[in-house]
Assembly symmetry: C2
Homo-oligomer: 344 residues x 2
């Protein structure tokens, strides 16, 4: 419960206006990224005139934007001008290897933003107002952009996921990475286990991004691709591990159970499935990022959700899995939901 | 300085994603207002099925929206469903006399939102990308919507403003309310001083809203209207008090000084001008609401700003005023900037 939610809290119109104006924070950050402002701040000098010149922008615009970014906690202002905070230096300056600025591109796609302009209609309908199946429409080109631009957001989750899925396994493993996207999760497993062979499944144009990443990571020799729909292609196998990263949340329960059945059949006895997911507590309102993710699924899919562990457990069980377990990923809002196919 | 801005702070990608997704908070609140959800929550029962029926919406949509509003601190969730927080009961339930839900209408107008979809262009240009002079284009119809829907946001500021401008004055006073909008500030002065006579200036269609409010407040007999542009109409006078509420921030310094000259000439010797304004500290990044308001002026006007007290003081002095003083309004983010015309 936040302080505002306590029964004795003082009613605050400021909270209401803060929420009504919250869209300006997204706009300011996206504008700064588009103007390459965080590179200019990092390289300095940080006075308004220099930043305006570097960003080919007006001084009035840069001054007001930088003040606003300071108010939101993303920059520091002093007599000499604007400087990075630890967060903007690490995650917004393109010179930083952990820069996540590219994620703004995916999150600003019309297909990602448009439903929020008509959210009342979405709530009335109970699902996306985007054409067809929205973000889960077959071969939707947004997933190529996702693979390109969201990789830095997912990168911190790859090492913990790799450690969790490989725990207790050694020697050669065959891994199926369903809806691989940028491919980073399978690639990380290949990095952590030099005998692992990865089969990455996704739409063909998306797999080009994954393959390029595998080449860059030096694991291309153990990285195959399997183009097509996860619901339609033959998975082959048997696999020791199947990864389902950021995928199940797009679908309703029957669709998830159907896919989990197919995954179960593709695993060797004793093999394991690992879903990387936004898993809220059973109250569905905590923790904030995992629970709040449900609104994205309402806006962009016909029937997706942020499922609780109990719901995943029930889907896994219905698909034949056992020994279900949840591992919170310490580096992000995600949880790895594990299940095993019974040993022979 | 927020914790994120300390030099030793741990860099946080969560802050970046929170800002990139912040637009969803505005969308969720606007959708809930449009669906009349806060009335349904207030009247109860607050279970998903009842709320969905009351809002003519889907259960999936209502559940996910209410969970999201709970995460943002606007509702409380328990086993029986969703309940008001003190804030949503007072400021979002239409049954409450202090409800500010109508402000979402003004803040969601395309003219208010559109520049934020192209904010990088606005920063490059240094002023609004809206047609003409944006929000300050003569006779812009947005000000009729403002007068209708923003009155509840301004209502808490009227009593303190009235007390400040009337302080030490008694008996009959003539008051000019420039850019009166909903008219509430002049009306409140008329309420606090039964001998006050108000002249409300604004575009004619806006003044219809102000007049209706004056009738409702029972002060219509002491309430005249003066239709036209503040820069062009004859003010008449002399006045004891001139109100400039939420007006000067739309314009550049020379325009403000020019108008203040005209105001000075319309005051009797010893008369006072009172601007209700967003006045940040000299650092321009605190307090957050007053300082952050500058971004609105960047987005919607050619050259407006959130001026500091030192800047207002200098404008007032150039226009002939003396005895400048700033009074923070305790009930909102505003400051009243006073100045006097020298006694004869």
């Amino acid at each position: 419960m936040t302080p505002e939610q306590e029964p004795g809290a003082t009613p605050s119109p400021a909270l209401v206006f803060d929420l009504l104006m919250a869209h300006q924070r997204s706009a300011a950050l996206c504008a700064a990224i588009e103007l390459d402002l965080f590179r200019a701040v990092g390289e300095g000098p940080g006075d308004v005139a220099s930043l305006a010149r570097r960003c080919s922008a007006s001084e009035r615009g840069i001054r007001i934007l930088c003040d606003y970014l300071t108010i939101t906690g993303l920059l520091v202002k002093d007599a000499a001008g604007y400087r990075h905070t630890p967060t903007s230096a690490a995650f917004l300056d393109p010179r930083s290897p952990s820069c996540v600025a590219s994620t703004a591109r995916f999150l600003s796609l019309p297909a990602m933003r448009e439903p929020f302009a008509h959210l009342a209609d979405v709530v009335r309908k109970g699902g996306t107002t985007l054409e067809g199946d929205g973000s889960v429409e077959p071969d939707n080109p947004i997933w190529v952009e996702f693979a390109h631009s969201m990789a830095p957001m997912m990168a911190p989750m790859t090492a913990p996921l790799g450690a969790i899925v490989l725990d207790g396994l050694s020697g050669p493993v065959r891994v199926l990475d369903i809806a691989a996207g940028h491919g980073l999760f399978g690639i990380e497993v290949a990095r952590q286990n030099p005998h692992a062979r990865i089969v990455a499944q996704d739409w063909a144009p998306v797999l080009e991004v994954a393959r390029a990443n595998a080449v860059r990571a030096g694991v291309a020799g153990r990285f195959e691709t399997l183009p097509g729909s996860a619901f339609e292609v033959e998975f082959g196998g048997p696999y020791d591990i199947v990864l389902l990263t950021n995928f199940l949340h797009h679908f309703d329960r029957p669709t998830c159970v159907g896919l989990l059945h197919k995954v179960h059949a593709a695993l060797r006895p004793g093999g394991r499935v690992a879903a990387l997911e936004f898993v809220p507590n059973e109250d569905r309102v905590s923790p904030p990022m995992a629970a709040g993710f449900a609104l994205n699924m309402l806006a962009s899919t016909p029937a997706g959700d942020a499922y609780t562990f109990r719901e995943y457990e029930s889907m896994y069980r219905e698909a034949g899995f056992e020994r279900m377990a949840a591992h919170r990923v310490p580096t992000g809002p995600h949880t790895v939901v594990m299940g095993e196919r019974a040993a022979a």
